[in-house]
Every structure is written in structure tokens, then in C-alpha cells.
Point group: C2
Chain length 316, copies 2
């Protein structure tokens, strides 16, 4: 049973489930599990892990257009995980909450061989209500926050850090946290959840989600929920400078920016008439990258089909 | 690093942490991890596991005197955990939410060798505000909900079910869910979180917590937080009939009722003058079992010291 089928089953027959977060009255709630094998590559610091574990849930709150209120996190770690590790992990969790004006309010810890986290965040909806995935209409502008490929570039740098370490005979199999590539990778891994942008978008956006599965897959998911297609204009997609530093190949850059995923940016649709206003309301960057079109026109990039593939948790 | 130290570290320097649930404005939020080795003995059905995983968090909401709003649960299971297992697990989660008028709003699933859950519940405070652990005063009546020893009796019945199965040469190492002892154990394991009683107690109780670590340890924790002692009157403690069915020995019955834990009942203090009224307001049973006394008088049962020991997660 793969993860997507399982999520469908967990959500089956539940009135509030199925979007980035569940809605209960004016509260949104979301839970996410991350684990070492797929989400915390060797070289990820405890601080970065705490930031990222909690940030993933705060990003889901942002995707609903809600204000982030609070987060908790349950941590599974092996017996070597000591108090200093925990302090660093909690510091990361606290700091990502601070970055979006939410409160980190505690958690639970248990022993497990594989380092794993389960974070939950709650948020409060504004008068604009929740922004779901299902409201996009043909003609709406397709917009994204931030710059893309950040996490893909981080993974390349984690790999490079391991190679550098392996080149030193005394350091085979270990990763030095003071290694420059690893340090940069950790910085890239600590994304800011787009809560402030989500709040600015909430009164205007017709559909929204976060990009945890990558831009391509997000467009297919938004398209399915809203019964529309999308035209993506490749040159307008903001690619993170770190991607340019890890590869010269334009096709590979697009692959990392559009398919890799885990960037936790927002993907949304906005009526044509509101684009300029909402872009100036967003404290971060909001860029138009295409348009919603009729469902029968499919999901395309510069006129070619954009395949529904990306990073799948647990298989890569 | 043991669990209690770790929780202390997770809670360190966090303004809202340290009680059964964290308080953020008028919302309470709590997260709990349960795992197969310590919390789901062989014979526990998937339905019971879903009920109990989510019920543990709802019980923490109850202990704050809040109305339960919603719950989510992240599940880690091995590759054999199929869609039918997930359906049963979710059915248990949905039913325990229904039992306390909360909404089960979804979750997350991932693969892990040991079956493990991380549940989060949120609740809404009434005008009475949160009931913490720190407000008990000498002279207050000590009260408990429900009947005690239920989970201890269930564990004995799970063991008995295994013994019965082992007596059948064809069934060694397996547990038949249709086995009477196992079926009864599952029923006992599906407790009702005391949300309704917690709401009735909220305007009156001076301190409250749930009994996940057992009555004895709960009294020590309440006593430490409130800077009081307690006199427990042993004969007044309501013992669950299932305890009487698993042992004839009165000392062992008290051990199971007062030390074993995992009963998820409420332990609280109420001003003497309010006891009768609040007992009649509670939809379940609320029984007076002693009194808060001066801290220097310690925690006693019928005049003898009541040791601070119980079931410790992860070590038994």
C-alpha cells in the first residue's frame, strides 16, 4: 500500500479531510511525519531537523490561508540521542515557529532506531475562510511564492559534503558539520513557511496548496481538485540561485525546480484582476508563472505535457 | 535519557508547556506517542489501537477541562499493514472521537517495523479557563472519575489469551482474536475519555490531570505542582470489576488499581463545599477518595506512605 493510497483511506468518509489541513470551525489542523531515510539526509543537523519537521506542518497551515497558532512535535530517536541533541532539535522547532508568529508548545519523545518525527500544527482562519484546492477557474492566473529547487540543491550539497568527507581517509563514513557544503545545505533546508504570504493571498486566491510534492505534481493535484488544466510558462518560474550553483544544465535545473519537491512554497490561482494587488500585498515574492485553462487542455509547460511525477516519499 | 527527563527538556523554556495539554489562547493542544512494545500488547485489535491512540490525547484535553474539538493521528506500521487494517484503525479513531463529540479529521501513514502512533488532539476552553495541576489547596476534596485497574486487568486477560492460544499446539505464537479473554481485554482497553466529566469539573476543580501514569504517581505529580500532600482513603477507591475477576488478593487489587496506570481517568481536587454539586453535574461517576493536606504531611494511603511509582513507559 503506497502512501497516497493510505492517505486516501485515512481521509475516506471524513467530512473535513483531504486538503493540506483539516478545517474544524475556524481552526485548521494538520499532521506530518518525516523520517530519516527519506527526509533527513546524512548531514542534516538536529537544529535543521527540528526546523524542518515543524516547518512542514506550518506550511500546510499557510496553504489554507490561515494564521499559524501553535505546533507540537513527537520525536522518535535512538538511545544515542542525548539532551544536547534534543535541545538543538527544540531550538529549531522554536525558531521556525517564531518565524511565522506561532508558539511551539511542546511534544513527546520516544525511542526508535530510525530518527522520525510527527509534527502537528494548528492555525486560525481569517474572515476570508479557508482556501482549498478546488476553486480554480480557467482564466485565473497561476502564481507561486519564493524560489524553486532549494531542497533539491540542498540534497546535492549534502552528497557533496559526504564525498568531501570520504576523500579524507580519516573521515570515511562520517560527515563533518563544519564542512562548507553541508553547512550551506542545512541553511537551504531551513525554509520559511509562507504563512504571511498565505494570509495576504487568502482574500483573493481561488485555490491554493503547498508544493511538498513538487510543482508538477502540485499542478496535477490542483487541476484534479478544481477540474481545470494549467499552462506553465517555463521561463517565468523563479529558480533558486543554489540550483544554478549545483548544475549548469538548463534541463536539469528545470527538473530540480519543478519535479523534485520539498520546497514548501505556495502554488495558487488568483483572478487576473487581482494579481498585481495581491503580489504587492505579499511580504515575500509572488510571481505569475502561467494560467489555469480548460481541463481538456491538460497540464502543459511551454505547450508540452508536464508529467505528473515528482519526489515520492518512501521510494526515493 | 529517560522519558520524563526528555519531556522536561522538550518543555524547557516554553511558556505554554508542562501540563496535560498546552494552552494557546482558548485552544488546548496535546500530542502523544504510543508504540507496540509498551502500549499495544499482542491481541490488541487494530480497531482498539485506533481508539486508544486517539483516546489518550482526548483524555489530555479532558484533563484541562476543555471541550474536545478534533484529533489527527500519524501511524507507523510495517508493510503487512493493509487497507483493511487501516480501515479498522481509522474506525476506532473515529468512534472514540464520536464518543466525546470531537471530529476525527485525518492523519498520515508511514512504514516502520514497529507499529507506532502519534496522535494529536485539540480542544476549546470554556469561560472557566484551563484547569492546571497547580491549584490544589490543603482541605480540598480529592476526587476521581470512573473505576480503576481497567487497563491492568486487560493486560492480564491479553496474557491469558496468549496462554490459551499457546496451549493449542497449532496456535503457538498466535493470538486468536475470537478468544474470549482477548475480546474482553480489547473491550476494557477501549476507555471513554472523560471529556464530559472534565467540562462539568472545569468551573469547580482547583487542580486536575489524567491518570495515564497511575493514581499513585498522579498524586505525587499533582502534589508537587500544587505544593500539597494527599491522604488517600483506600476503601473508597472505585476498583473496576474486571480487576476482581483477575485476582482475589486485595493487596494485588490495590496495586493494579493504584499503581498500574493507563486508565485515563481524571484525578482532581474540588473545594469541600462543591463536591456534592459537581458529583451530580458529572455525567459519569465522580467519587471522593481523600483530601489534599499540607505538603509536609506527604502522600499517604490510610496513613502509610504511598510510593511514587507506577507504570513507566518504555521500561515495562
Amino acid at each position: 500500500m503506497n502512501e497516497r493510497d493510505a492517505l486516501r483511506a485515512l481521509a475516506a468518509d471524513l467530512p473535513h479531510a483531504g486538503d493540506d489541513a483539516a478545517v474544524v470551525d475556524d481552526t485548521v489542523i494538520t499532521t506530518d511525519m518525516l523520517h530519516e531515510r527519506t527526509d533527513f539526509p546524512p548531514g542534516t543537523s538536529r537544529y535543521t531537523a527540528g526546523w524542518r519537521a515543524v516547518g512542514a506542518s506550518l506550511s500546510d497551515v499557510a496553504a489554507m490561508g490561515a494564521a499559524a497558532t501553535a505546533a507540537v512535535v513527537a520525536v522518535y530517536a535512538d538511545a544515542d540521542f542525548d539532551e544536547a541533541d534534543l535541545d538543538r532539535f527544540v531550538a529549531g522547532a522554536v525558531d521556525v515557529c517564531d518565524a511565522v508568529d506561532a508558539a511551539y508548545v511542546g511534544g513527546d519523545l520516544d525511542t526508535h532506531a530510525e530518527f522520525t518525527t510527527a509534527s502537528t500544527a494548528i492555525g486560525t482562519l481569517t474572515d476570508a475562510g479557508p482556501v482549498t484546492r478546488s476553486g480554480a477557474a480557467p482564466g485565473d492566473a497561476l502564481c507561486v511564492t519564493g524560489e524553486w529547487g532549494r531542497s533539491a540543491a540542498a540534497l546535492r550539497l549534502f552528497d557533496r559534503g559526504r564525498d568531501d568527507a570520504a576523500a579524507d581517509a580519516d573521515a570515511i563514513g562520517t560527515v563533518d558539520a563544519s564542512n562548507g557544503a553541508v553547512e550551506r545545505a542545512n541553511e537551504l533546508f531551513r525554509f520559511t513557511p509562507r504563512v504571511a504570504d498565505g494570509l495576504a493571498l487568502a482574500p483573493h486566491a481561488t485555490a491554493m496548496m503547498d508544493s511538498s510534492d513538487g510543482l508538477a505534481r502540485s499542478l496535477h493535484q490542483l487541476g484534479e481538485a478544481s477540474e481545470v488544466g494549467f499552462e506553465l510558462d517555463r521561463d517565468t518560474l523563479p529558480v533558486h540561485p543554489a540550483v544554478e550553483a549545483v548544475t549548469d544544465d538548463p534541463a536539469e535545473r528545470f527538473e530540480l525546480a519543478a519535479h523534485f519537491g520539498e520546497d514548501f512554497e505556495l502554488v495558487c490561482t488568483v483572478p487576473e484582476s487581482a494579481v498585481d494587488r495581491v503580489a504587492s500585498d505579499c511580504p515575500g515574492t509572488l510571481v505569475r508563472v502561467g494560467s489555469a485553462v480548460a481541463a481538456e487542455d491538460g497540464i502543459t509547460v511551454d505547450g508540452d505535457p508536464l508529467p505528473d511525477r515528482g519526489y515520492t516519499h518512501g521510494t526515493e
